[in-house]
């Protein structure tokens, strides 16, 4: 993408967010002063242009990554199914059942399930229960940072239809409108046994070659993004000065 495109895109986005904000409350625009375009002096004295909103929020469409063919893919799928690295991001109250899952009673390590602290190294995302809009923004961002192939396990009835919080102004009702979900684990909250069963189901799906939801996300990116933009109005990302 050339620089011109980027600038146009950003301008469009800013206008849109200003419109969104202006429709109800004209004073509140969602560009914080520190997120405006600015020039930064690098340590060697050169001047770099920084546009935080674009730099932090990647508006770039993810590319669809085709699976390799035949036996190789089958073999890799087997390896993927036996080594599921879960992102350690407890998004809801279901995360209280993650410690039991990883400790002597249930010990998910036996099945090749491990927690990883960074999205770059994990390939499974446990959405542990209700998702408030504020968390959903972080979840989407973490999800987009994860390398493909990636899988989403949605815990609890809250992710299926809103569950107990169906009428809450803050939590979403259906997760599959915003992210592609591989396995739903029902319950409020699901027991560790149910979680293990969910993981077994995920393993089956991967072995059958059905764990291609990351490509589905790339294919229907515009649709997912439209749904996400409907509820997440403030796309500003926290400011790093790194």
């Amino acid at each position: 993408m050339s620089e011109l495109d980027i600038n146009d895109k950003v301008k469009e986005m800013l206008e849109k967010s200003a419109e969104n904000a202006g429709s109800k409350n004209s004073e509140k625009t969602f560009v914080h002063p520190e997120d405006e375009e600015r020039e930064v002096i690098a340590p060697d004295g050169s001047i770099i242009k920084v546009n935080p909103i674009y730099d932090y929020f990647s508006g770039k469409k993810p590319t669809e990554e085709k699976p390799s063919n035949g036996v190789v893919e089958k073999f890799l799928n087997w390896a993927r199914s036996e080594s599921i690295w879960v992102l350690g991001f407890g998004t809801g109250c279901g995360s209280i059942e993650i410690p039991p899952l990883m400790t002597p009673r249930f010990d998910a390590f036996r099945f090749g399930i491990q927690m990883r602290p960074t999205p770059r190294q994990s390939n499974a995302f446990i959405i542990s229960g209700y998702l408030s809009v504020k968390t959903l923004k972080r979840v989407i961002r973490s999800y987009e940072q994860m390398p493909s192939p990636k899988y989403v396990l949605a815990l609890g009835s809250c992710t299926i239809n809103g569950g107990m919080y169906y009428d809450s102004y803050s939590t979403i009702n259906r997760l599959d409108k915003y992210l592609p979900v591989d396995v739903y684990i029902a319950g409020c909250m699901p027991r560790p046994e149910a979680l293990l069963a969910g993981f077994m189901k995920l393993k089956e799906l991967i072995k059958e070659g059905k764990g291609e939801k990351a490509n589905e996300y790339a294919r229907n990116f515009d649709e997912y993004k439209a749904n996400q933009k409907k509820i997440i109005k403030d796309w500003n990302m926290p400011d790093y000065n790194w």
């Binding site: 992102l87 109250c93 504020k134 973490s142």
Partner: protein, 397 residues
Amino acid sequence: MSKIFDFKPDRSKYPAKKADGTLDVDLRSQKYVKLWLGPNHPGVTGNMAVELTLAGDEIVEAKTHVGYLHRGFEKLIERRLYVQGFPTSIRMCVAEPDTNEYLIARSTEVLSGYDKDIPEMAQWLRMLSLEMARLQGLLRGVPGQAGTFSLGIGVQWGVYLRDLILDRFEELTGARVYHMYIIPGGVRGLLPDGFKKRMEENLKEIDNFIIRIRQLMFDNAIFKKRSVGIGVIPKEWVDLYGIVGTNARACGVKRDVRKDNPYLMYEQLDFDPPTATEGDIYARSWVRWQELIQTVDLIRQIMAKMPEKGDIRAKMPNVLHWRIPKGETYNKLESGRGEYGMYYVTDGSDKPRRVNLRGPSYTHAIALLEKMLIGTNIADVHATMVSLQTCPPEIER
């Protein structure tokens, strides 16, 4: 020798302060680094974020960001019948859900005038359930302090024993985490046969664990090195910041709702809340460890003193048509984290007018944490946060 390396830079003038008292931190000057701990960070308790401004390895400014778990409980309960609000409200804080059950049951009983009718057996069972909840919280919390210093085996043992207590909960109530046992008017059921025997077996195992955890944590040189003198709360802060529970007791202020405003049958139990005077991370985990011993003892006392049989429910009106006259009340109890209260307002209709939960983390995790983190290192952030026992869902509800 250690004096040479104990170099404390003078930060009284740097960073400079603006006229209104806020720090003059110019992020573009490249002297400071902004680091976000959380929400996606294994070192943050639950789902919250701490925004740190660093000068070198030292924190000059900290801001807590919450709201990642906001579900709008207080709004949702206003839209539900009293009995419908009950299963909703217990999900307010997942660490010790029984405390929410008791508060909401107690509030509705007080406001509708049934609080004197609760049978004695139900009160004992309520107390048992609350103490078991405290025990399972402590089994996660006490070794969790060592877990912040990457001493993970204590956590593993603790969570295993917590599973045993959850088994007993399952036996008593049918559910593992959200029990819905303390309903308005009483409790849902009596103790199952053989419950006391199995509980006693589990408590014996926990007794063993208590000794092992002492050897693992409190006799450990590096644990002491990382926790003594770090995260100190002076005694004067207790009232200034509204510190409650074990955090207040660790700096020598003996406050315990169970003793100050006894509820249920706590007057009949023999216990004395443990205290310490130092107020640092070590003192807080030491107090919590002693509380673990005490909770095991309390459960034994409750099981010995409680009657075998009895009424477990008062006669209550039809919950589907239950109207409570206009009124307001504030009820509190001592949870594992401190004073846990609920302000409940009714307006005469079949739904509450306002429910406001006062979680101890509300002050601990925002005002106090932000103050305590200044001047510490990145390595101490997680330890300080866990030692305050912050629980984000009760901040934002």
